[in-house]
Amino acid sequence: MSAEKFKGYRGAALHVLRNFDAPIWSDVQITAHGNRFTGIILPRSETSDDLHVVIKLRSGYNVGIAAESISDIQLQGRREAHYHIPEKAFPVDPQKPRVKLLGTGGTIASRLDYRTGAVIPAFSPGELYGSVPELADLCNLETEKLYGVFSENMGPAQWRGTAEAIGREIEKGVQGIVIGHGTDTMHHTSAILSFMVQDSPVPIVMVGSQRSSDRPSSDAALNLIHSVKTAAESDIAEVMVCMFGPTSDVYGLLHRGTRVRKMHSSYRSTFRTIGDIPLAMVSREKITPLRRDYRRRRHDKQVHINTAFEDKVSIVYYYPNMQPDIIDALIDNGYRGIVIAGTGLGHVNKPLYPVLRKAHEHGIAVYMTVQTLWGYVQMYVYETGREIMELGVVPAANMLPEVAYVKLGWALGQSSDLDQVREIMLTPVAGEITEREPANGYLILQGGIPEVEEFISRYRK
């Protein structure tokens, strides 16, 4: 109880608040350094020091006052914050498609957490309608909170749970599914869902935001509108990531779940399709397909859910001078699959050869991908590559390293026979391996070049 009463305060700061019996949310006048500060005592972030008391002044500013300088606290009242997004019942229109929003966490909807001083997710259809009323023009929205975790805490258990929830919703007959997700590992989840959920009759759209929704410039609302529009109206029945195309508030891109990757730590337009072009563009007004080879929407409720997953799989990012003990540790710890992100066309150094052979002999499935991200593994071009293949390392074509990692877990979950695993790994299920890389599949425009500068001066990217 006392912990709640003085939330986040420790040491000297807690001592002074106790002394004056001034719990958080008290409206107070504090005398410190001979000056008076009038405001509300706020909870303190747990990672902050124990030397200061934080109050919100009448002007709205927060200030920290050194506990040791506080000579008096006069209580004048109490004003507790009740943070809630105005909640309004989501209007139902029988003419509109049913869309289900599954929440896993992330900043698509969020609020401030006083304990950590960081933002935590908040989520309900009424809250969403209260903050993004445009959604009601697109669909009848239902929501279900599956998890409330930051995306780095998503793992096999949550992947399975999400895939199963998708299966249930499809069987119930929803016309589209949106999954709210933190952006850091959204591409891992989009990849594994592409494998676990097969032959979906409806769009499955993953969405998040790069600026939390507590900011006026947040991309959350527009991303949500784009993703709900896609789920409700598009005929692309695949697992997709729907995030900003350019940094401007203009349109979103629909990326195939197995070919997408987060490419910038903070930019809005961080998600890019790698080695190919995106499926479509989406704006408030329309969805513009960029290609035709996608699975079409159907009107049945059939879907195959296969949530097999082997946890003991690792991804190893090769670097010059890597020592064999790294791989040894994986063998000793009972790992059953290793995906290597090799240099260039798929290489590692010679000192690793013996340990890779050892891994193969232990029945560990070892696959090679490229850390260049763009391009295919091609292990015939150099002698090195051929030698590595002889050690039992299997080239994984142009599968992205993270995609190969989740697919290997999924394959090993289904079989321990390495030939069968190889069959699963190298047979494209959801575009994770493509037969060809189009010439416009690798476009990283370099700033400074006159024609590129001309391009960005003309288009709002």
Partner: protein, 633 residues
């Protein structure tokens, strides 16, 4: 309420302002002189209208920390503006574009803010919390300004009393607006993120003149520290004004201090007149409860009008809404400011909120100018079922804008029955104010979760205290004592050379008046001659004054030495006089004047020759004495 309380501007005396309860306070924004911006490492103070790229954003209101929406935020959302930012690669990085989180607060900027807070005698904040102050007009791409309070409760001497300072903040500057037409607003981003301090005074300025006078003192005070930027736009003040029964109104971004008196006078008059308007409405039985107004579309009724703006609008497919303000007859002509009437309050709201930026954006039946014909007004009156006591207001635009304009007119008219609505207003060139936006409240403040609290250590405060410049009021008092000419006192007090002056006078015992004149007036004279006075920097000045101290240069030779050094780019002072050199010059001079028989004439001629060749290297009196001595021998 006395309708005659407000006299013409030139006739208003202190007692008249006291009678209406005039009060004003200042929020002074002053850019700091730092190398880099406040939360990123972009260069500070580089301005250019050239740009390499544009990005487009929208703003959405969010909840405050205490769970409430801010009024301004909702208003800006109603406007549905597309915001365009012009990006120059040299002055803007991904931080200003809101695509990268903030870097640590610029330590140089914080030191400057802490120094100025101490000059104000503020209580310093022990632990700084960065707040987000929401601005949904788009002037900052994040939608908020990162800001923090550095000190509270200070004061400065003012007019034989002390003017309290409520707080000193440190914050990032916003974009420069390029244009705001229709639903598109364009900003330049070069100024964005520049560190500035915000000084907030108590509303204890009791005449428009006092408000300007206080602004001048602050401007001089901060300039005297050498820690701030100067030049156009480097200092801007928001001026708060209220009268008895009125509301605190903020006039935003006044960049010229001489504009303050007329602006505050007009704003006070506006409030007084709005209160008179309310009184008149009450007399007519119109209160916020009984207020009645509605709007109808009347496009069809005026489609053949000969009033050109409306006719053109209809030809372009726009629609016309008619707002009926029940019982308002004549009141849209009620004076608010100098040569401004209440209809302008409605027009301003329509312009800002409904984005109908082409003027005129409305017409009304109270007007005396030619708009619709009287038969057109009558047909509208019949159609919307209005009577002779009502005022009709017509607005036109596309369906959405025309309706939001009509709604806004109703809102503003209802507010007339309440009194003076809380707003921020812009300063117009004619000295009147125009609506800018609803006054934001504390609900727009939100803690910045991107940066941890920052402890201001006692060591840091102490280090800054030691290097603190002398406050300007102390400087000026001392200059008075020294007998420095009145026209030199103020410029010297705010000059970057004030510290050099103190050293020269107190420690080197140079003549105060001569040093002051040399520091303040000589550069001006040299600039008139077209010399590059920027090169007259602290090291050069220090060296010149040291030469005077060391008697290598006579104070009389300072101006010439400055000129020579700027002109020739060389050190102007020849090596010190050797003992035989003066004797030799005197001997030469005597030789050249041998033919002159009149001793006094010869003396004058000799002095001329000697001083010509030794100017600045020898004291005239000393030379004269020695010459006299030789001549008399």
């Amino acid at each position: 309420m006395d309708p005659s309380a407000f006299k013409a501007y030139v006739k208003m005396k202190e007692a008249d302002y006291a009678a209406v309860g005039f009060r004003s306070g200042l929020e002074i924004h002053q850019q700091l002189l730092t190398k880099k911006k406040l939360f990123c490492r972009c260069p500070a103070g580089c301005y250019s209208t050239a740009y390499d790229a544009e990005i487009l954003r929208h703003m959405r209101p969010t909840l405050s920390e205490l769970g409430e929406y801010d009024g301004t935020a909702l208003m800006e959302f109603k406007t549905r503006k597309e915001i365009i930012y012009r990006i120059n690669h040299d002055t803007v990085c991904t931080y200003e574009m809101d695509d990268t989180p903030p870097f640590e607060l610029n330590a140089e900027a914080l030191d400057s803010a802490l120094a100025i807070a101490q000059l104000y005698g503020c209580a310093l904040i022990d632990e700084l919390h960065i707040a987000r102050k929401q601005y949904l007009d788009g002037s900052i791409p994040t939608g908020f300004q990162r800001t923090t309070i550095v000190g509270v409760d200070g004061s400065i001497p003012f007019d034989n009393r002390r003017l309290p300072i409520v707080q000193l903040g440190l914050e990032e500057d916003a974009c420069r607006e390029v244009s705001d037409i229709g639903h598109e607003r364009i900003y330049l981003t070069d100024r964005l993120g520049m560190p500035l301090i915000e000084t907030v005074t108590a509303p204890e300025l009791y005449t428009p003149q006092q408000a300007a006078q206080a602004a001048q003192i602050f401007r001089r005070l901060v300039r005297s520290t050498g820690l701030v930027r100067t030049g156009i736009g480097a200092a801007r003040q928001d001026v708060n004004v209220s009268v008895t029964g009125g509301t605190r109104i903020e006039i935003k971004g006044v960049s010229r201090i001489p504009a303050i008196p007329l602006l505050t006078y007009n704003e006070a008059m506006r409030q007084w007149n709005l209160l008179l308007l309310r009184q008149e409405l009450q007399r007519r039985g119109i209160t916020p409860q009984t207020f009645s107004a509605e709007y109808r579309e009347v496009t069809r009724l005026v489609r053949r009008t000969r009033y050109l703006p409306l006719r053109q609008a209809i030809d372009h497919g726009l629609i016309v809404q008619c707002v009926i303000l029940r019982g308002f007859r004549g009141l849209l002509r009620h004076q608010t400011q100098t040569q401004t009437v209440f209809a302008k309050e409605l027009s301003d709201r329509v312009r800002v909120i409904a984005c109908l930026t082409t003027l005129p954006n409305l017409i009304h039946s109270d007007t005396l100018s030619e708009t619709l014909s009287s038969s057109e007004w009558q047909s509208i009156q019949r159609s919307v079922v209005a009577d002779a006591d009502d005022t009709l207001v017509l607005v036109w635009g596309n369906a959405i804008d025309a309706e939001s304009a009509a709604k806004e007119i109703v809102i503003r008219a209802r507010e007339a029955a309440q009194g003076v609505p809380s707003e921020t207003r812009q300063a117009l060139a004619d000295g009147t104010t125009g609506f800018e936006r609803i006054l934001p409240g504390p609900d727009r403040m939100y803690p910045d979760t991107d940066l941890p609290p920052l402890r201001v250590t006692a060591d840091r405060v102490q280090r800054i205290r030691v290097g603190l410049p002398q406050p300007i009021w102390e400087r000026e008092a001392w200059y008075h004592q020294l007998g420095i000419p009145a026209d030199t006192i103020e410029p010297l007090a705010v000059s970057p050379w004030a510290e050099l002056f103190r050293e020269a006078v107190q420690e080197w015992h140079l003549s105060a008046v001569r040093t002051a004149v040399a520091l303040i007036h000589f550069p001006k004279r040299l600039r008139k001659k077209g010399l590059p006075i920027k090169e007259l920097d602290e090291p050069l000045l220090r060296r010149l004054f040291s030469a005077v101290r060391d008697r290598q240069l006579d104070a009389d030779g300072l101006l010439e030495a400055m000129e020579t050094s700027l002109r020739n780019k060389t050190w102007p002072i020849p090596p010190p006089l050797e003992s035989t050199e003066l004797e030799r010059e005197i001997a030469d001079a005597l030789k050249q004047t041998e033919t002159l028989s009149d001793n006094r004439a010869r003396l004058r001629r000799c002095m001329g020759l000697i001083m010509h060749s030794l100017r600045g290297r020898v004291d005239g009196a000393q030379a004269a004495q020695q010459l006299q001595h030789l001549l008399n021998r």
